[in-house]
């Protein structure tokens, strides 16, 4: 042991030297636990790194459950919008028609709620004229417009018809109509230029 306090050559006893002390093991354990806790925290509160998820929501699935849900199929809901554009001017948004102007109702109409769309699609494509009995009341249709040239997209016609046949607002619940069904009848009747009358329509089967 060196007793000379002024010696510069030898270090004091107990003075740390480079590499003489190792980091304590518990520090690594603590850091690892903190990192684990941090990751757990991020996982719970990070919203899956989705920029649209804010507290108190935990994930985009959680957020999705609180979004407004539109009832009914997509086709029905698109049909509701198209109906307002093309049909509501005469049949009104309520679908009750306008008896004063000889516009029959669509609500509870046996023509709308028919088992199949055979006659209904023909009416929309070419229009209708002459007397018609709807829901027990007589109307002398002064001519429903033909929509063959105006609405060229068969899917839109299918959407409208699906809406009027299945509208929950009106208490209707029949079957959906597809664009193919409309295309088929459009092709079958492509040579017809005038509106239908009820007598002619009754020759076609309902389905």
């Amino acid at each position: 042991m060196n007793s000379d306090p002024n010696s510069l050559n030898e270090p004091h006893a107990g003075e740390p030297k480079l590499g003489s002390a190792g980091a304590p093991v518990w520090l690594f354990v603590l850091i690892a636990m903190l990192a684990f806790w941090g990751m757990g925290f991020l996982d719970k509160h990070g919203g899956g790194f989705d920029p649209r998820v804010y507290g108190p929501y935990e994930s985009s699935a959680d957020l999705g459950r609180d979004q407004p849900v539109t009832k009914g199929s997509k086709r029905l809901n698109s049909g509701r919008a198209a109906f307002k554009i093309y049909c509501a001017p005469c049949h009104l948004e309520s679908g009750l028609g306008n008896a004063a102007n000889n516009v029959p109702p669509l609500v509870h109409s046996e023509w709308v709620l028919a088992e199949g769309p055979n006659r209904l699609i023909r009416i929309v494509l070419n229009g209708l004229q002459g007397p018609v009995k709807v829901d027990g009341k007589d109307f002398d249709s002064n001519g429903m417009l033909p929509w063959r040239e105006t609405i060229t997209d068969d899917e839109v016609i299918a959407q409208i018809l699906t809406f009027i046949r299945m509208s929950p607002e009106w208490g209707h619940n029949t079957s959906e109509i597809t664009g193919e069904q409309v295309t088929k009848i459009r092709d079958e009747t492509k040579d017809r230029a005038v509106q239908w009358t009820i007598a002619e329509l009754l020759k076609f089967s309902e389905k």
């Binding site: 480079l18 539109t70 509870h108 028919a114 929950p168 079957s175």
Partner: protein
């Protein structure tokens, strides 16, 4: 003893990591943010650019240091589900029969009164989501329409500072974003909603004690001009009474800066319902007609056969 390279690498990674975490990753997340659509009225884009005067007002807001006492971020800590009756339907008797079954302690008389009242009406508050869904499903068969309403909750919302929390979308067109960090005064994220008049805002800027007796906000009188009344009082003049009124024959007029600031404050309205902040209506997901009915429909079609 030469650990220079090691220290360099250590410092480099420490700085690079924080740059990635605090600058790069947020840019990746929010850098492409665009106007969003209101989830209720999908035709409405949000946010809109602030009108020109309000845009200039942002600079006034910034230059006066409003952000050092006012924050612009409303927080939300939870949400609550209420059941709301939207439409009583046509079959009142069945609705009145159905309501007491789901709402405890509701007598038939009260149910009748409820239906006579204005719609929509909240009939049950603070339910678990599943219970709320179940109740709506029980009410609907009676012909009435009910919905589950999502209501954001939290201390800020309870104070009336906003209807929902602030989200990044709200600040899309603001440069710079005046989030603020201290709340010596109230949060202003939705001040255009709870003080919806330029006149009141101008009065508050002229002398905060007019509207809030205990306000500690400084007066911003230099935003106003005292003028001798000419032939007739100006329609823009502040309507001041009592101790705040100028001497007779004079009127107080807001300068352009005051008007810009008021326009900016009025444009602070965070009420649009975005995907991030559902707060109106979550209907119950019911089995839709689409999936169940592909074959012949039984009900109306068979009873209303077309005339022969």
């Amino acid at each position: 003893m030469n650990h220079g390279p090691l220290i360099f690498v250590g410092v480099f990674f420490a700085l690079a990591l924080s740059w990635f975490g605090l600058v790069f990753e947020p840019q990746l997340q929010l850098g492409n943010a665009q106007q969003a659509t209101n989830v209720v009225n999908t035709a409405e884009l949000y946010p809109q650019r602030r009108p020109g005067q309000a845009q200039q007002g942002l600079d006034v807001y910034r230059s006066l240091g409003c952000a050092s006492c006012h924050s612009q971020q409303v927080g939300q800590t939870g949400r609550r589900y209420d059941v709301q009756l939207i439409d009583a339907g046509t079959n009142r008797a069945s609705v009145i029969a159905a309501l007491p079954k789901v709402v405890t302690n509701l007598t038939t008389v009260e149910a009748e009164k409820l239906l006579a009242g204005p719609m929509p009406q909240i009939i049950l508050k603070d339910l678990p989501r599943l219970a709320a869904d179940a109740i709506v499903a029980k009410i609907e068969p009676s012909g009435a329409k009910a919905e589950v309403k999502v209501i954001p909750t939290g201390p800020d919302i309870a104070r009336g500072w906003g209807k929902r929390r602030s989200v990044a979308e709200d600040f899309l067109f603001d440069q710079p974003v005046m989030l603020g960090s201290q709340r010596i005064g109230p949060d202003l994220a939705s001040v255009g909603l709870w003080r919806p008049s330029a006149e009141l805002l101008l009065l508050h800027l002229y002398d905060p004690k007019i509207l809030e007796k205990k306000s500690v906000m400084p007066r911003y009188r230099f935003l106003f001009e005292k003028r001798k009344i000419g032939r007739a009082p100006s329609p823009d003049a502040l309507k001041l009474t009592g101790e705040f009124a100028p001497e007779p024959g004079y009127e107080i007029l807001p300068t352009d800066k005051a008007k810009q600031l008021a326009a900016y404050l009025l444009s602070l309205r965070t009420e649009t319902v975005l995907f991030e902040t559902p707060m109106t209506v979550a209907s119950v997901t019911v089995a839709t007609n689409a999936s169940s009915v592909t074959t012949n429909a039984p009900s109306a079609a068979t009873t209303n056969a077309p005339p022969p």
